[in-house]
């Protein structure tokens, strides 16, 4: 097998601007998602993820322009998520230049939407984004549940069962974020990642908690993920994509270095 593990920088975009900014290279406008995308493209990122966190529905269309402009300059795979509620949202994102579309809340509310989306656009472009939080106590067996609204709202749905359900419906990939680890910089929730990666046949992207390059290695090696997503360690220049890829490669994980 010569398929490589992937590193995916993720940019939160609100009303067409990168939230919290990106300070890793000499960008003229750190808030411009297209400029950040171009920089990551030339840095050798394997894929790029835009998460549209625009709150008002009036400004939802702005992301299409961002995606479209990015596709003019970047010849790398692009996943876009946030606010996908109807099939037409997926169509518009794909037409603008997204390769894959990440669906979160809508899939939780209506798992059949995943089947409709996969039938129409193919399993390979439907990514289900799962936000999971540990609900078991330390002396109990592991249990994680799906949370929505940025981790504030519990759904009572078991994360592993939900992952299996959406894959059965046609999801081509799972983007898995640990709400406990997100922003902590202490590494992925490896037990969660491994439990889900081993339970489904589709690739899993680990997300939430990266603070060091070892965390990236662990996500693939111990979490059994196929790709690792990170935001702040790259945005704020703690590490470059180049450093991360070489570090992973030197630690036994085959990476694309060309």
């Amino acid at each position: 097998m010569s398929l490589k593990a992937r590193i995916i920088p993720c940019l939160d975009v609100k009303d067409g601007r990168v939230v919290k900014g990106v300070s890793f290279v000499d960008l003229i406008d750190a808030g411009d998602p297209v400029e950040a995308a171009i920089a990551y493209d030339s840095a050798g990122a394997d894929e790029l993820c835009f998460l549209d966190i625009t709150a008002s529905s009036d400004n939802r269309g702005i992301i299409f322009d961002v995606v479209s402009q990015t596709a003019e300059h970047c010849f790398m795979p692009l996943t876009v998520g946030g606010g996908v509620r109807e099939l037409v949202d997926i169509r518009n994102l794909l037409n603008a230049g997204a390769d894959k579309v990440a669906i979160n809340t809508t899939a939780v509310k209506n798992p059949d939407f995943v089947a409709q989306a996969a039938d129409k656009f193919g399993n390979q472009c439907i990514v289900i984004s799962i936000d999971a939080k540990r609900v078991s106590n330390q002396n109990q067996g592991n249990r994680w549940e799906i949370f929505t609204h940025g981790g504030r709202q519990s759904t009572g749905i078991d994360a592993i069962e939900f992952a299996q359900l959406v894959v059965e419906k046609g999801a081509g990939e799972i983007m898995l974020t640990s709400m406990d680890q997100d922003g902590q910089k202490s590494g992925y929730d490896l037990a969660l990642t491994r439990s889900i990666a081993d339970a489904v046949q589709v690739p899993v992207i680990a997300s939430g908690g990266v603070g060091t390059l070892d965390h990236l290695v662990e996500g693939i090696r111990d979490g059994h993920a196929n790709a690792v997503l990170a935001a702040s360690i790259f945005h704020f220049g703690t590490y470059t994509i180049y450093e991360a890829k070489h570090y992973m490669n030197n630690n036994g994980i085959a990476m694309r270095l060309d």
Binding site: M1, S68, F75, Q124, N226, D258
Partner: protein, 216 residues
């Protein structure tokens, strides 16, 4: 030189068009890229590109729904022998038939079937998503000056099915994913990539430039 990218309601035409325009510019090739759903325009073009994203049957249906497009393709690719490039499902459609979800007839330009990939390693996920190297089986002009093999450049794959050709001479390149998976097929004036050249950075842009210069 005019290149048609065929629009039949499937696929990421914007990215494809931008990559082809970039390849023209970077290589100072004089030409124009036209995204079109008009069969007449297709027959007037010098190079033809058929992209495709989604399921085989849906893509076939989408193409059949464009009045006269299949006839235009036959005319320009078979009768006039102009250079043709399939991408992803656009490549799979070149086969005799596809077995995804239902049995659907392809163009029968490359004898063979489109079957689900079956890695011999249970740990390998389906779809294959990500960057893989390609191994050349039969030399081809479109791979000119592109470093291939295990230490070569990478191509971006995102697929669950691949074209299993009857004739080994029609396999241009394979990748290894728990066994050989078809990466490029071709014969005469036609070629098709399972991976996405428009998303494959250096390898992709080089292959597109080679296609735009191709004169089979």
């Amino acid at each position: 030189m005019k290149t048609a990218i065929i629009d039949y309601g499937s696929g990421n035409l914007h990215s494809a068009a931008k990559a082809f325009e970039r390849a023209l510019r970077d290589n100072e090739i004089d030409g124009k890229i036209v995204v079109t759903d008009n069969p007449q325009t297709v027959t007037q073009c010098d190079h033809i590109v058929l992209p495709g994203v989604g399921a085989f049957a849906d893509c076939r249906k989408g193409l059949d729904n464009v009045d006269g497009m299949m006839e235009a393709l036959e005319e320009v690719v078979i009768s006039r022998a102009r250079p043709f490039l399939g991408i992803c499902v656009g490549t799979q459609l070149m086969a005799t038939r596809g077995l995804e979800k239902s049995v659907t007839q392809g163009f029968n330009w490359i004898g063979g079937e489109v079957r689900e990939i079956e890695p011999d390693d249970d740990n390998l996920k389906i779809p294959q998503i990500g960057w893989n190297t390609i191994n050349v089986i039969n030399k081809h002009e479109l791979l000119k000056d592109i470093q291939t093999g295990p230490d070569g450049r990478h191509a971006y794959f995102v697929h669950s099915y691949h074209l299993v050709a009857d004739n080994r001479n029609h396999i241009i390149a394979e990748c290894d994913y728990g066994g050989a998976v078809t990466a490029i097929v071709g014969r005469d004036n036609m070629i098709g990539t399972q991976f996405h050249p428009e998303k494959s950075q250096k390898l992709g842009l080089a292959l597109i430039a080679n296609f735009l210069r191709w004169n089979p």
